[in-house]
C-alpha cells in the first residue's frame, strides 16, 4: 500500500500539471485571438470618438502626452474618416495638386489594414475611392454602364465599420500647415 502511494503521487501531480498547462494554453490562445475584438482602446475606438462617421477630421498636431494614436510620426499631418456603411458606401474624393507625400490607409474596425496607397498611385493626383460592403459593391456593379470602366477605386471593407487614415508628410516643420491643407482638401462623404 505504501509502495503504491509512492508511485502514484508524482504521476498524479504530473497529470494535474499537464491539465494546468492545457488550460493555460487554451486561455492564452483564445485571448490572443479575441484581443482585436475586446481590446478597449483600439485605433478604431480612438478615431470613432473624434466625431460623427463619414466625415473627415483633421487630428490635432501631435503634442507629448496628448496623442490620439501612439507611434505616429510628428512630421506628418494626420486626418481620419471613421465610417459606418450601414446606410451606404463611403467615398473619399479630392485632388492632390503637389508631388508631396500623402499616405492613405484603409482599416477595418478590428484593426486589419485592408488597403494602403500613396499619392504616387493616384492618377494625376486624383483621389476617388469608394469603400463598401460586399453587398453594396454588388449593387454598384449591377448598375455599371456596360461599355465604361469605373472611374473610382472600389474597396470592400471587411467590416461594416472602419476608418480611413490619411497622413501627409511635412518635410520641414514650416510645411506642416501646407500638409494639413493637403488633407483637408479631401472630402469623405457617406
Amino acid at each position: 500500500m505504501k509502495h503504491k502511494r509512492f508511485l502514484s503521487r508524482p504521476l498524479e501531480a504530473l497529470t494535474w500539471l499537464a491539465a494546468i498547462l492545457c488550460v493555460a494554453g487554451l486561455v492564452h490562445l483564445s485571448t490572443i485571438l479575441v484581443m482585436p475584438r475586446i481590446a478597449p482602446n483600439t485605433s478604431f475606438a480612438r478615431i470613432a470618438a473624434l466625431g460623427p462617421p463619414n466625415k473627415l477630421v483633421l487630428l490635432p498636431a501631435l503634442e507629448p502626452g496628448r496623442e490620439i494614436l501612439p507611434f505616429e510620426d510628428p512630421a506628418t499631418a494626420i486626418a481620419a474618416c471613421p465610417y459606418d456603411l450601414a446606410r451606404g458606401p463611403v467615398r473619399l474624393r479630392g485632388q492632390l495638386t503637389t508631388d508631396a507625400l500623402v499616405l492613405l490607409s484603409f482599416h477595418g474596425r478590428y484593426g486589419q489594414t485592408f488597403y494602403a496607397m500613396t499619392d504616387r498611385s493616384a492618377l494625376r493626383g486624383r483621389v476617388d475611392v469608394v469603400v463598401a460592403t460586399r453587398d453594396q459593391l454588388d449593387d454598384i456593379e449591377a448598375n455599371d454602364a456596360e461599355d465604361e470602366l469605373p472611374q473610382e477605386l472600389r474597396l470592400e471593407s471587411p467590416a461594416r465599420q472602419g476608418f480611413i487614415l490619411l497622413r501627409a508628410l511635412a518635410e520641414r516643420p514650416s510645411l506642416m500647415g501646407e500638409a494639413r491643407d493637403r488633407l483637408s482638401s479631401l472630402t469623405c462623404e457617406g
Binding site: T31, S43, P64, E72, L101, Q112, A116
Partner: protein, 194 residues
C-alpha cells in the same frame, strides 16, 4: 484535498498563467514573424487576411494604426547596435546606411510611442530625410544628446527612450525579409554621464 478543489485550482492557475502569457506577449509585441535588423525591429503590420495573430493582438491593444505595406515600413529600436538599452544619460551617434525610400523620418519617443518633451527651446522630436545636413559624400550623421550638439542634433529628455525610423514609399517589404543590419543605420553609444 478533494477532487472539486483540485479541478478548481487547476482551472484558476491555468487561467492565470494563460492570461499572464497573453499580457506579456501583447505588451512586448512578440510575434511569430518579427523582422529584426541589428537594433531595429520592424513595426507590426496587420494585413486584411492572414497575418500574425500576435501582431494583430498587440496592435489592437496598443491602439496604433499600423502602416500598410504600400505606404512604407516602420522600425523601432530600444537598444543601440551593441545591444545596450537606449538611455538619455548617454550620447548617441546614428550614421551609416539607410534603405532606399522616397522619404525617411527618425523620431524619439518614449517606450509607449508617445512623443517626449525635451527642455529648452529645441522642441525637435525628429528629423525628416529632407532636413538632414549631409557631408560632401552625401553621408549623414545624427547626434542624440541632452545638450546641444553641432550638426544634426536630436535633443533627448531624461530616461529611457525609443527610436522610430520610418521609410515611406520604400521598395523594401517586410515579407521579403531582405533587410539586414548592414543596410540599416548604426546606433553607437558615445560618452555617458557618470
Amino acid at each position: 484535498m478533494n477532487l472539486f478543489w483540485k479541478v478548481a485550482a487547476t482551472a484558476l492557475v491555468g487561467a492565470a498563467l494563460g492570461l499572464g502569457a497573453t499580457a506579456l506577449t501583447v505588451a512586448r509585441g512578440f510575434g511569430f514573424d518579427i523582422v529584426q535588423a541589428g537594433p531595429w525591429r520592424a513595426m507590426p503590420q496587420v494585413p486584411a487576411t492572414g497575418g500574425d495573430p500576435y501582431a494583430r493582438a498587440a496592435v489592437a491593444r496598443s491602439g496604433r494604426a499600423p502602416l500598410g505595406s504600400a505606404e512604407g515600413l516602420g522600425f523601432t529600436a530600444v537598444v543601440d547596435s551593441a545591444g545596450t538599452k537606449l538611455n538619455a544619460s548617454c550620447d548617441y551617434r546614428i550614421a551609416g546606411a539607410m534603405p532606399s525610400a522616397r522619404f525617411w523620418t527618425l523620431t524619439v519617443t518614449d517606450t509607449k510611442g508617445h512623443l517626449v518633451v525635451s527642455e529648452g527651446p529645441a522642441r525637435r522630436a525628429g528629423f525628416t530625410s529632407s532636413e538632414i545636413v549631409r557631408d560632401a559624400k552625401g553621408d549623414f550623421e545624427i547626434r542624440l544628446a541632452r545638450e546641444a550638439r553641432p550638426g544634426n542634433w536630436l535633443p533627448l529628455a531624461p530616461g529611457v527612450f525609443t527610436l522610430a525610423l520610418r521609410l515611406y514609399d520604400s521598395p523594401h517589404s517586410l515579407s521579403a525579409g531582405v533587410l539586414d543590419a548592414s543596410e540599416m543605420p548604426v546606433i553607437s553609444r558615445e560618452r555617458c554621464a557618470s
